[in-house]
């Protein structure tokens, strides 16, 4: 619980932060809430030589609605998301993260850049088809969330880039649900399923299903989505579609869940998520 030695800086502009990151070399890390990085440092599983704290950088906080999108600053805390129900599925997902203390410190940008597929927000970014903005020394680029998550705790964020902003389509008229399965309310998801459903009468106009902790990256349950899209939202159809939720997944086993148990949970939770999302859509 005693981290190795490191330097710390809290620059007051994005430009300075990017500069500090570049000067710090490959062992420099951004601090954007610290609720993933600091525990790893205390266990000496991570030993960055420099922490570049983003907390004083202006313009990275808060949310606003713009042209059919929500624009979220990367340092917007989980707590702010939780208390912004207009964000729909993103708000519902954020409300389940860890405990209130963590939600008050942890940030969406920090969580996405950390790239842990057991975290709740990444799968929600997939199903909302969000985009992230990355700012580096040489300029800015925008990436769909689907291209952000590359492997276990590995993202497309470059070594001297800062994830500054997340743009999320508003998804007005969609119902949503997050079914997070864990042993204790503060735990990471053993498996989580987030779903958004757009219904036209009793017909499924569109559906998107995201899987948390079902592989090295967050996943879309595309086979289940395809099975339901355009179909009548009957119990039977939903159940049949949900049977495909774990297709092509091979989640690693851990102490409390085997691969097959996780696959089973994904199917059960998908069925529940779709039904719940329909109910939410009215």
């Amino acid at each position: 619980m005693i981290p190795a030695e490191f330097d710390y800086t809290a620059p007051e502009s994005l430009e300075d932060a990017i500069g500090a990151l570049k000067d710090g070399g490959e062992d420099a890390k951004l601090l954007a809430g610290g609720h993933s990085l600091i525990p790893l440092m205390k266990l000496r599983l991570a030993a960055p030589t420099l922490l570049v704290d983003l907390r004083k950088v202006p313009g990275l906080h808060g949310l606003e609605r713009q042209d059919g999108h929500w624009r979220l600053g990367a340092l917007t805390t989980h707590s702010v998301l939780e208390h912004s129900p207009e964000l729909g599925i993103v708000s519902a997902v954020a409300a389940t993260i860890a405990d209130p203390q963590v939600r008050h410190r942890g940030t969406i940008g920090g969580s996405l850049a950390h790239g842990d597929s057991a975290s709740d927000l990444p799968a929600a970014m997939l199903i909302t088809e969000a985009e992230v903005t990355l700012q580096g020394e040489s300029g800015q680029r925008t990436l769909p969330a689907a291209e952000l998550f590359q492997d276990y705790m590995t993202t497309a964020v470059g070594e001297d880039e800062v994830l500054t902003e997340i743009r999320i389509p508003t998804l007005d008229g969609w119902g949503h649900s997050y079914q997070k399965f864990n042993r204790r309310s503060e735990d990471w998801a053993m498996v989580g399923v987030c779903a958004v459903v757009k219904a036209s009468g009793q017909t499924c106009q569109d559906v998107r299903i995201g899987l948390t902790n079902m592989g090295s990256v967050p996943l879309r349950a595309t086979a289940a989505e395809a099975a339901l899209r355009g179909q009548e939202l009957s119990d039977e159809n939903i159940a049949q579609a949900a049977e495909h939720a774990a297709d092509d997944t091979n989640p690693p086993a851990d102490l409390n869940a085997s691969t097959e148990y996780k696959r089973h949970l994904a199917r059960v939770l998908t069925r529940r998520a779709i039904k719940d999302a329909m109910a939410a859509a009215g």
């Binding site: 619980m1 042993r183 059960v268």
Partner: protein, 794 residues
């Protein structure tokens, strides 16, 4: 909820807010980590990443050369110790294989976390950085983790014994084989009571200061007096030269009932370097090296007649002790054996215990220590017996309860239970729980696919450790008398200081003891200060564990106060020209019976006692000491019920309701009792559903953080419902019994029985703890003939 009897006349029996809480709540309490001494150095330990290995070499040069590092020591450097770490159980006629256990390993390591070197330097960061530079070359040896494999053969944890067996011990009463011959039904089970951690919120910590021939040790311990004794013995110091202080201690749960290598190491290094040495344990260390508990695999057999009368109960316990015997390790399963018959009149009871070494952290006492394991075995087996007999499980319990007329009741194991009225607690429980209504609701919900279950546990236990003649060397074999002391000092002003030999660490004893003293001396509890946890203050003591502090320490306080009262009465009698036997305390004054207007407050009496105008022949002063050795243990009991919902699709259990009716004799402070029950029940629910220490086959700890070691939080728990019955103990004048372990002893069985009750319609009739979602999912799939898609979990 509290019992609504007539309000008591004095402070005893009343809810009084804890005297301890203001300093705790406002952050003014002083724990070891809050204490610093001039010139202190910090220590960090280099610990083995291997579960079993020969130490080939240790290169400390790079670490020692680092800036701020004063010394690096290994086991070789500590050859001047008076002996290895203590194991204090030497029962007559029982052979116990007991390997040497040193503060720093000598030659080999036996479990992950075994310390091999200590780095001492100027700050905590410097020593932790330097510890990474100590190069240890290990030659790995074969690892054994599974106790059933370990007892069957090698590889051996300690090669010199040519076995992993530690000891064998049997306690029996009656003739179990004859009992089984009489039985119409016999139920057998393999009951696994898995390993759990103590997990106090404050980890361990020490600060040792040896100067001018005297040693002061601050330690986060439950047992400062035992620690003083062993520091003196192992360092070759007189006990008069050793002072051990347990300042505020943030929970123990048995984990801090220990004499630890880190304590000895810090004292030794302080003497060696002439500087105070501080070591504060990290959570990672606490999870991997502070002693753990339970870890028993038992084959149990219960026989009964068709009418539900239990005729025989035979338990064979395989107890996994891990890599070493700690201070009481091999005794722990025996504590369950004494009460293996539970609250039932079973004529033939036998417990066979085999202890075994494995390459894991040692086990020792954790809250309940042997008795939760015993209760789990009894209560889950009894439920199955009822099921097989087609009887109501509560009816089987009632049929076998020891009737209240039998008390004091000698049970088959030879133990004499002090008092009990088991029907009364169960009756009280059923005032809160309408079982018939529950069964109707359960039936209705099942038709909707909701699996709700109710589980009961009726239990007793043995605590209030302990009568020295029973537990001492000639009895059970603990190498210590377990009496308790108290000293009462009335000051000039009438304020009172109580010195107790117990060492409370969260229980609320400062408040309970003040209530006892206040009534006897006619003062307010706010002017009664209770001092504990410092071996240089007050008489020799025997510390806090085994739900003993009120039943032994509280009684000692009562008796010492009675001595003070006797002297007060003599002084008052002389002042008021009356007979001492006519003096009584009422309305805050000592006065002549029948003349309450004329009297003396304690402050007035103290004035007389200290000015010296005491009656001729009487010593001045107002201070008395007592050593109290109980005649018997005390045996609290209770009836608990738990209601759960099981999600049959996912296997997840939700605790909907938990009702605890406990009888711990006469209540001193009902709120403290509720607090102990709440905490104890959480501990039991935690073991049943969430907590598990797990090692993989290589002996690596998988559950080393609070992410993986799943302590339940408020979010997982219902609001507890508590109630009491009051059956005084005849053993002590207060009529009290212990309550610190009660909830833990009862809860895991109540939860397990509730889950099984929920799942019976799905064909599940037994699951071992922890009742994790996947385990339940597996059990449902297996019972329905379908093979679960996954394997069983490790």
């Amino acid at each position: 909820m509290t019992v609504t009897d007539a309000a008591p006349a004095g402070h005893v029996g009343r809810v009084l807010r804890r005297k301890e809480d203001p300093r705790l709540i406002t952050g003014r309490a002083r724990y070891v980590d809050d204490i610093s001494l001039p010139g202190q150095l910090w220590a960090a330990l280099v610990r083995s990443p291997e579960a079993h290995a020969k130490i080939v070499s240790i290169d400390t040069s790079a670490a020692a050369a680092r800036h701020g590092i004063h010394a690096v020591f290994t086991g070789e450097d500590m050859s001047d110790l008076g002996g290895p770490l203590p194991m204090a159980w030497a029962p007559p006629g029982v052979e116990v294989n007991n390997p040497e256990h040193w503060p720093l390993a000598r030659g080999s390591v036996k479990h992950v976390g075994d310390p091999v070197a200590v780095v001492i330097g100027e700050d905590r960061y410097a020593v932790n950085d330097a510890a990474e530079d100590v190069i240890v070359e290990y030659d790995p040896l074969p690892v054994i983790v599974d106790p059933e494999a370990a007892v069957a053969g090698g590889p051996f944890v300690h090669g010199q014994f040519e076995t992993n067996k530690v000891h064998e011990w049997t306690l029996s009463g009656g003739d179990v084989e004859a009992g089984f011959a009489e039985a119409d039904v016999i139920v057998e089970r393999r009951v696994v009571n898995h390993r759990i951690a103590g997990a106090p919120i404050e980890c361990r910590g020490v600060l040792a200061d040896y100067r001018a021939g005297s040693l002061t040790l601050y330690s986060a311990t439950q047992v400062p007096h035992f620690v003083r004794l062993f520091m003196a013995l192992l360092l070759g110091l007189g006990e008069d030269r050793v002072r051990v202080i347990a300042p505020e201690v943030g929970g123990g749960f048995g984990q801090k009932l220990q004499v630890y290598g880190e304590e000895l190491l810090a004292c030794w290094a302080s003497r060696k370097l002439g500087r105070p040495i501080k070591w504060i344990e990290t959570r990672s260390e606490n999870m991997s090296v502070a002693h753990q508990g339970r870890d028993q695999i038992s084959h149990v057999r219960m026989g009964a007649k068709r009418d539900g009368t239990i005729t025989a109960w035979h338990v064979k316990i395989l107890a996994d002790f891990g890599a070493y015997n700690m201070i009481l390790t091999p005794l722990i399963p025996s504590l369950g054996a004494f009460v293996m018959g539970g609250c039932y009149k079973i004529p033939n009871v036998q417990t066979d215990i085999t202890g075994v070494f494995t390459n894991k952290c040692p086990t020792d006492a954790i809250r309940g220590a042997g008795r939760p394991e015993a209760t789990q075995m009894i209560e889950v087996t009894l439920d199955q017996l009822a099921h097989e007999l087609g009887m109501d499980p509560l009816e089987v319990r009632r049929r076998n309860f020891i009737p209240k007329e039998d008390f004091p009741a000698a049970v088959a194991t030879g133990v004499v239970y002090d008092s009990g009225d088991y029907h009364k607690t169960l009756d009280k429980l059923l005032e809160h729980v309408d079982v018939d209504a529950f069964r109707r609701e359960q039936e209705e919900l099942r038709s909707k696919g909701v699996y709700r279950g109710i589980g009961f546990c009726t239990w007793t236990e043995i605590c209030g450790l302990a009568p020295s003649r029973v537990t001492g060397p000639a009895g059970v074999g603990v190498q210590a008398g377990l009496w308790e002391s108290a000293m009462i000092r009335v000051h000039n002003t009438g304020a009172v200081t109580v010195y107790t030999g117990t060492s409370p660490h969260g229980q609320g004893l400062e408040t309970a003891m003040a209530q006892i003293v206040a009534d006897k001396l006619g003062v307010d509890p706010s002017v009664v200060e209770v001092v504990h946890g410092d071996t240089s203050l007050g008489p020799e003591g025997r510390d806090t564990y085994g739900s003993r502090s009120l039943a032994t320490g509280g009684e000692a306080v009562a008796r010492a106060t009675d001595k003070v009262v006797a002297k007060v009465k003599s002084i008052v009698a002389a002042e008021l020209e009356a007979a001492a036997e006519d003096i009584e305390v009422s309305g805050g004054k000592f006065s002549v019976r029948g003349s309450p207007d004329k009297g003396m407050a304690l402050a007035d009496v103290a004035g007389v006692a200290y000015i010296g105008a005491v009656p001729a022949g009487m010593e001045p002063g107002l201070e008395e000491t007592t050593f109290y050795d109980p005649e018997n243990f005390v045996f609290p009991f209770g009836a608990h019920a738990c209601v759960v919902d099981v999600d049959a699709e996912t296997g997840k259990v939700s605790v909907r309701r938990y009702v605890a009716v406990d009888d711990c004799g006469r209540p001193i402070n009902p709120m403290l009792i509720d607090g102990q029950i709440h905490g104890g029940v959480v501990h039991g629910i935690g073991q049943a559903l969430y907590e598990r220490v797990h090692y993989n086959d290589e002996g690596q700890l998988i559950t080393g953080t609070f992410v993986d070691y799943a302590l339940p939080t408020a979010a997982e728990l219902p609001s507890f419902e508590t109630d009491r019955t009051e059956t005084p103990s005849p053993v002590n004048s207060l009529g009290v019994k212990g309550v610190g372990e009660a909830g833990t002893i009862a809860a895991s069985a109540a939860v397990t029985n509730a889950v099984i009750d929920a799942l019976r319609p799905l064909g599940v009739d037994y699951i071992n703890m922890p009742l994790t979602p996947m385990r339940i999912w597996d059990a449902i799939a297996n019972s329905q003939g379908a093979s679960p898609e996954g394997g069983t979990q490790p």
